[in-house]
């Protein structure tokens, strides 16, 4: 899923300082799963904004609504009759949501309420970890099912570098050295020999480096 975290409340308050009718718009997709942008979090953010504004004696009206998904025009359409009632919308979906809203409702003032972090999953309750860099050409099967591009700090294809220590990366003791894990896993699988093969420079054409990406599936295009 796409993992996000809420922006600091001070930043959100600063964004919507000049607005009095605010809609907090949640999303039932990834951000609900990672407990940052669902209906529950929308309600909490709305209350927080009201309390903060009350302290400054400013009048404010905050409503909440949660869409099935904000990355789908069909669901984004759902707020067409209500969006004009608000002078600011805080989307707490990933970075895709506020953009789809801005495109669909050009005159609305849309603000991002969360910082989109990465593609990953929950490794423990309350702890999420990155797993994919979206490079567009998956090669994890060559590395024991572990991704060196998203999980090595240097995206080494022929690792590990000389900074691997006690299974940790040189940049931080909180970061696992994925190459240490790859070597161990491939050794256990009896496939270490494969890591001795030179991996040539990767083509980044399919990654973000090739320019903003678009996917067309002819059979699905009406």
């Amino acid at each position: 899923m796409i993992v996000a975290e809420q922006k600091p409340i001070t930043e959100i308050l600063e964004m919507v300082e000049d607005y009095t009718k605010i809609l907090v718009l949640g999303c039932k997709g990834c951000v609900t799963v990672c407990n940052v942008g669902g209906s529950k979090e929308a309600a909490i953010l709305a209350s927080t904004l009201k309390i903060a504004k009350r302290k400054t004696n400013k009048k404010i009206e905050v409503a909440t609504h949660t869409l099935e998904r904000q990355c789908d025009p069909e669901y984004v359409d759902e707020v067409k009759d209500m969006i004009d009632d608000y002078d600011a919308v805080i989307s707490i979906a990933c970075g895709v949501g506020p953009q789809f809203l801005s495109e669909r409702y050009p005159s609305a003032r849309i603000f991002p309420g969360v910082n989109t972090k990465f593609m990953g999953g929950a490794v423990e309750h309350g702890i999420w970890s990155e797993r994919c860099a979206g490079c567009g050409t998956c090669v994890i099967h060559h590395f024991g099912g572990l991704c060196p591009i998203s999980r090595c700090s240097k995206s080494l294809m022929n690792g590990p570098c000389g900074g691997s220590s006690n299974g940790k990366c040189e940049i931080s003791k909180d970061v696992d050295c994925i190459w240490d894990m790859i070597v161990r896993k491939m050794t256990e699988l009896g496939r270490l020999q494969e890591l001795l093969e030179f991996v040539p420079p990767k083509s980044w054409i399919t990654a973000r480096d090739g320019g903003p990406r678009r996917l067309i599936r002819e059979e699905l295009v009406k």
């Binding site: 240097k154 294809m157 590990p160 900074g163 299974g167 890591l195 991996v199 420079p201």
Partner: protein, 310 residues
């Protein structure tokens, strides 16, 4: 056709069977090259080539190619270091052509310390290719005469290709395989990480010799003399992939006030003496960081002078 790949002094020294001795110089933190020239002056005549570091520890300095040219003007042979952190394959290949056209003949291929260590941790890194792929890039340019895209090069760079090896980083068992991979990809010479744990290095070299790696490539053992007990403790605890045995720290502590640096040099000299006899070791890479003025003394004590002329 020359019998040499690059005709660098370092290559000639190694091919002639001499025990090579390389040094190291960090470029300045500004455009003032006086201190660099002073450091170069200490190394002159003591070493066969001088590594010029490339924004080491991710701290911005004068570019390694520019500082390499300064050394060249001062009459030293540079070993131009290049990291993959700051350049994509376009910049890498154009810099390789650039340095070669100005007379640089040795190049050390590295991945580079992550920018989070350095003084611009907010920077975006590149890592378009890794150190292994950098070795492959230089070899392709030199031996195939083509760029990575297969296009012909008008005047291929005839460089002596170097790579690094850290026998002490983990996973330890894999390190020898990684060295073998670098050699198979095209490294002509290897400079190791600073060695302090001699037992572990002996074991590493034994494996290298068993695998015949020393016959395919020249392996230079890395030596950095300890200046103080504080430095030894810092390296033991703070530098990833560094193995400093407690016995060495104890030995330095035992030297007594004002004598630690001398003991550090004594240990380095003992190491060099052992490396001269160690099977598979073709030379020593002396990284006397901001201690260049002690290099003549260390070289003399280690019996490395005068350097052979080839």
């Amino acid at each position: 056709m020359s019998e040499y790949k690059s005709e660098s002094n370092l290559e000639k020294i190694l091919k002639a069977g001499h025990f090579a001795f390389t040094g190291e110089c960090g470029p300045p933190l500004g455009a003032n090259v006086e201190h660099l020239k002073e450091k170069a002056g200490h190394l002159k005549g003591c070493v066969d080539a001088v590594n010029v570091t490339d924004n080491q520890t991710a701290v911005v300095r004068m570019s390694s190619w520019a500082a390499s040219l300064v050394l060249l003007q001062e009459g030293l042979e540079p070993n131009f270091q290049m990291v993959c952190r700051d350049r994509n394959r376009l910049a890498i290949q154009s810099d390789i052509l650039g340095v070669y056209s100005h007379g640089i003949k040795n190049m050390l291929c590295l991945s580079g310390d992550h920018q989070r260590f350095g003084n611009h941790p907010e920077a975006k890194n590149v890592f378009d290719i890794d150190s292994m792929q950098l070795i492959h890039t230089v070899k392709t340019m030199r031996d195939e005469g083509t760029f990575l895209n297969g296009q012909d090069i008008d005047g291929p760079p005839e460089l002596f290709i170097g790579a690094a090896s850290n026998p002490f980083a983990e996973p330890f068992e894999f390190r020898i395989h990684r060295l073998a991979k670098k050699i198979a990809v095209g490294a002509d010479f290897i400079q190791t990480q600073c060695i302090y744990n001699m037992d572990r290095f002996r074991e590493f070299m034994k494996r290298a010799v068993d695998m015949g790696l020393h016959e395919k490539c020249y392996i230079l053992a890395g030596v950095t003399p300890m200046k103080s007990v504080g430095m030894a403790r810092y390296m033991a605890k703070q530098v990833p992939g560094m193995d400093v045995p407690a016995s060495l720290i104890k030995r330095l502590q035992g030297a007594g006030k004002g004598k630690v640096a001398g003991e550090g040099i004594k240990f380095a000299v003992e190491q060099i003496e052992e490396f001269k006899e160690m099977e598979g070791v073709a030379g020593v890479h002396l990284m006397a960081i901001e201690w260049e003025h002690r290099v003549p003394e260390i070289s003399k004590l280690a019996g490395m002078l005068p350097r052979p002329k080839v």
